[in-house]
């Protein structure tokens, strides 16, 4: 009897399944489905969330080594990029500097130029400074040094990697200049005056020069190119004998704050 019952059991379950299949399209079948899903689907949702959480954990741990390797690679890449950025920054600063240099009236188009960093100053207030370019870079004595359209000085001493630039504030330098703002194009010669200011001399009595006029290089000495700004007139001195006038020229910037300069190769 029990054996028969055991045999019958699969048949009973099979029959029930068949019955469900037959009624699945009917209202009763849909009702059964709705009843089961109303309590079962929320449970599935919970299991789904747990599974998703576990899956994320598995993915995390699975990728941990990969992430670590990636992190190392990215670190290297970052260091490389930082180095490139630093180099580009230098280039940008150099470019900006060059742009500034080329923005003034004097054109360096036909001149060989070289950018140099100022690496040291004299202890006397600006008579000379040292730049990081030398013979190896093609720098030679008497090369003209400018910045942002201003005449700075000229190279007086050259070593292999460094050079000394004597500034126009030094009495050793003499520059032929003219008054850019004067209708008479007043000309003269400028020399440094004990590293504090410049003195413009040899101004003819009939020529007009006013305080505040801009003094630029005239280029007549065949040494400094024309158009470089030397400074502005601070004071005018008439000669008592009525022969020649002179003027005090103030430099337009602090020589001690120079960071970069442009070297124009001597022609």
């Amino acid at each position: 009897m029990s054996a028969r019952k055991t045999y019958l059991q699969p048949l009973l379950v099979f029959g029930l399944s068949l019955f469900l299949l037959l009624i699945s399209g009917t209202f009763f079948g849909k009702f059964i489905r709705l009843g089961i899903s109303s309590f079962y689907l929320p449970l599935t949702s919970i299991f789904n969330q747990v599974g998703r959480g576990l899956s994320n954990e598995i993915i995390f741990w699975k990728n941990l080594k990969k992430l670590s390797n990636e992190n190392t690679e990215l670190g290297k890449l970052l260091a490389e990029r930082n180095s490139q950025i630093a180099a580009l920054k230098e280039v940008r600063e150099e470019n900006e500097f060059l742009k500034d240099q080329l923005g003034f009236s004097f054109s360096t188009k036909n001149s060989k130029t070289l950018v140099a960093d100022v690496v040291g100053f004299s202890g006397d207030g600006g008579s000379w400074f040292t730049i990081n370019r030398g013979l190896d870079d093609g720098v030679s004595v008497n090369d003209v040094v400018i910045t942002e359209g201003f005449l700075i000085g000229k190279v007086t001493v050259v070593n292999n990697q460094y050079s000394r630039v004597t500034s126009i504030l030094s009495p050793e330098i003499t520059v032929n200049v003219l008054d850019q703002d004067s209708q008479t194009q007043t000309s003269g010669v400028v020399t440094g005056r004990f590293n504090t200011s410049l003195l413009m001399e040899k101004i003819l009595p009939e020529e007009i020069i006013n305080i505040g006029d801009t003094i630029i290089t005239s280029g007549t000495d065949g040494f400094f190119p024309r158009g470089l700004i030397v400074g502005k007139v601070d004071a005018v001195f008439d000669s008592s004998s009525g022969t020649l006038k002179s003027a005090e020229i103030g430099a337009q910037f602090d020589f001690r704050k120079l960071e970069q300069v442009l070297i124009i190769k001597a022609r």
Binding site: L18, L20, L21, I36, T44, F47, G51
Partner: protein, 159 residues
């Protein structure tokens, strides 16, 4: 009645894992057919009635979850469980034969229930389900006292 309740409880848990949990943790892109494996384990450890009820309830829950036609999975699972119970009785509980039967019947289940599914996926699912047989083997072995019965042949011999 006891077997029926045990089957209901196990089927709820197993289907929740099969439909809710494992799809989030895909093994080689497939999920194991835990209901079939659990039903086969029950049969292997002598839980004939429980095994059939498990296949029945599991099939219903599976149909509800997958929006399949209600009763179709039950019919298929009960049919396959019957086949495995016959194998277990007539060929004995040889682990190798049983494992091979689980693999083949899982493959048959998937080929019939999802005929459009690529064969490679069906094959993967069958392999994975067979692997899960080892996972479910020991828990069912421990719990066999709850559902164990004598097989048809044993019962036949007895009476």
């Amino acid at each position: 009645m006891k077997q029926l309740l045990i089957a209901l409880l196990i089927s709820i848990i197993i289907v929740l894992f099969q439909v809710g949990f494992f799809p989030q943790i895909l093994f080689f892109g497939v999920t194991p057919n835990l209901i079939l494996v659990a039903a086969f384990c029950l049969i292997y450890f002598g839980g004939i009635r429980t095994g059939f009820w498990l296949a029945f309830f599991g099939g219903i829950f599976l149909d509800v979850e997958t929006s399949g036609r209600l009763g179709f999975s039950s019919l298929l699972l009960v049919g396959l469980t019957f086949v495995i119970s016959l194998i277990a009785d007539f060929l004995g509980r040889n682990p190798f034969i049983f494992t091979l039967a689980v693999f083949l019947l899982t493959l048959v289940f998937r080929l019939i229930s999802s005929p459009d599914l690529p064969f490679s996926i069906c094959l993967k699912e069958a392999v994975l389900s067979t692997a899960f047989l080892l996972v479910l083997y020991y828990p069912f072995k421990l719990l066999r006292s709850f559902f164990s019965q004598k097989s048809y042949i044993q019962l036949k011999m007895k009476y």
